[in-house]
């Protein structure tokens, strides 16, 4: 039993570590800090409500800074795509949000209240179909600064992008399938679909 708890803690720490490798901070003049995910080489996915300006400064894992140019934005899905130097950072492993079931363990990473890489855990409440929405409904708390950060499954794969809270206790995230669809429609697709091993 103690072994099990230790194993769970260790696995969680590993997921946190991996999640932080592809997590970025998105800083914009006069807007404040949000989060983003290095989705593919040179391609950062964040929220439309985070990427309000066309240019921003992105801080990668390890503290390296890069200037980013906004390549696309979709307010309907609260998504935005930023472009950085493709040589920088290590992209996330992207999972399939369609496989998520209620009760599955998930994590959210971001920079809540400006705390870089903070991790929070919960379970999937519903995967779409809840209130006529295709958003992921999660039993975890998202805070200012979480926006644009990643939701990960127990394998440490990115299955969603944090967007907002629904009421005091329910976090909402954009499923990775919706992000993929958007990237394809926006002509930013192909390169982004490289699934990490």
């Amino acid at each position: 039993m103690d072994d099990l708890l230790e194993a769970l803690s260790r696995d969680t720490a590993e997921v946190a570590e991996r999640a932080r490798e592809s997590l970025v901070t998105v800083l914009q003049q006069g807007v404040g800090a949000g989060s983003g995910v290095l989705w593919a080489p040179g391609l950062v996915v964040t929220n439309a409500h985070v990427a309000r300006r066309s240019r921003s400064v992105v801080t990668l894992a390890g503290g390296q800074e890069a200037t980013a140019r906004r390549r696309g934005r979709d307010f309907q899905h609260d998504l935005a795509v930023l472009e950085i130097d493709p040589a920088l950072g290590s992209p996330a492993a992207i999972g399939d949000s369609g496989e998520l079931r209620p009760g599955e363990w998930v994590y959210a990473v971001g920079n809540p209240w400006g705390v870089p890489g903070a991790l929070t855990a919960g379970v999937v409440i519903a995967n779409g179909g809840g209130a006529g929405t295709e958003l992921l409904e999660l039993d975890l708390h998202l805070r200012p600064g979480h926006s644009g950060g990643a939701v990960l499954n127990a394998r440490g794969e990115v299955v969603g992008i944090n967007t907002m809270m629904n009421g005091p206790d329910v976090g909402l995230a954009i499923p990775s399938a919706v992000v993929r669809r958007y990237l394809a429609q926006a002509g930013l697709g192909k390169a982004a679909f490289r699934r990490a091993a």
């Binding site: 599955e104 809840g130 499954n153 127990a154």
Partner: protein, 305 residues
């Protein structure tokens, strides 16, 4: 597979499996609530406060079919209601037995406000002895968890890691606390509701407050407080028995009345309609009246959640 992946898979499997015993209950406007399939012949238990005054509701079964259900009975004091499906469906889940639940156990709250099963996760936070709800209902255990009660989760089950029903979640009995009605209470109350359609509770028609007894009286009766009568309802059982303002109630049916709890406990359904001895203190001496206990009228519908 890592331990974490195992856990995640096991949780999802538990939700999927137990979800076969959870139905959608359309008993009010706005958001539907949830219910637990309680017997193979079509009994469903749900939260009383999520059903308005209607006597028939629509129920969404786990397989996606819908069926009508009759409201067999309801008990506001324990927030329980029992439905009878016109077409039985869903699976009867295993139930936890006395002593199996422990503080710290993982607990999943399940709900089906829409077509598909939904879930939140927490732990059993508190498990205590019997208590009495604000409306006077006896509940076998104080069972609290830290699950998030998502809209429409009331009436759904709290299940443990073995997929057993630990209780029925309700957000209405104590506001702001994820409280569950334990299996023992559901079993007792649902049986009474199926048989009688309601839980009978005794009624005297007095407003009382605890009051300290004079020393000689305390020495004689062995109790330090009684219940001072501050009001008597016109035409009530108490008035007909001759109870007057300023009397101090000492015992009902031989049960000592030292506090409000004692009075609620003494006014169980079994004393309704029976001539019961009521010991009082009046003018410094104790007397015994005979009161024919009435039945407490159903409280008016005021909740909405």
């Amino acid at each position: 597979m890592s331990a974490l992946e195992h856990l995640s898979e096991a949780l999802a499997a538990a939700v999927q499996s137990a979800g076969e015993g959870v139905v959608r209950v359309e008993g009010r406007r706005r958001i539907p609530s949830s219910g637990i399939v309680w017997s193979a012949d079509g009994l469903v238990v749900t939260a009383h406060h999520t059903i308005d005054r209607r006597s028939e509701v629509q129920v969404g079964l786990p397989d996606g079919k819908a069926t009508a259900a009759k409201v067999l009975g309801r008990d506001p004091a324990t927030d329980l209601a029992v439905l009878r499906l016109s077409t039985a469906g869903g699976r009867v889940l295993k139930r936890i037995e006395e002593g199996q639940a422990k503080v710290g156990h993982l607990a999943l709250a399940l709900g089906r406000p829409g077509d598909s099963i939904q879930s939140t996760l927490g732990v059993v936070s508190a498990l205590e002895g019997g208590w009495r709800s604000p409306l006077g209902g006896h509940i076998e255990h104080y069972l609290q968890s830290d699950v998030v009660m998502y809209p429409g989760f009331s009436g759904g089950p709290l299940i443990d890691a073995w997929g057993r029903v630990v209780g029925m979640n309700t957000s209405a009995l104590l506001r702001g606390i994820a409280l569950a009605i334990p299996v023992a209470t559901i079993e007792r109350v649902s049986q009474a509701l199926v048989e009688h359609g309601r839980i009978r509770r005794g009624f005297l028609g007095v407003g009382v407050q605890p009051a300290r007894l004079p020393q000689p009286m305390e020495d004689r009766s062995g109790q330090s407080t009684g219940l001072l009568v501050a009001s008597v309802e016109g035409g009530s059982p108490a008035e007909r028995a001759g109870v007057m303002l300023g009397d101090v109630l000492l015992a009902l049916g031989g049960e000592r009345l030292a506090g409000m709890e004692d009075l609620l406990a003494a006014l169980g359904g079994d004393v309704v309609g029976k001539a019961t001895p009521l010991e009082i203190l009046r003018g410094g001496t104790s007397t015994t009246l005979s009161v024919t206990v009435g039945e407490r009228p159903a409280p008016s519908e005021e909740e909405e959640d």
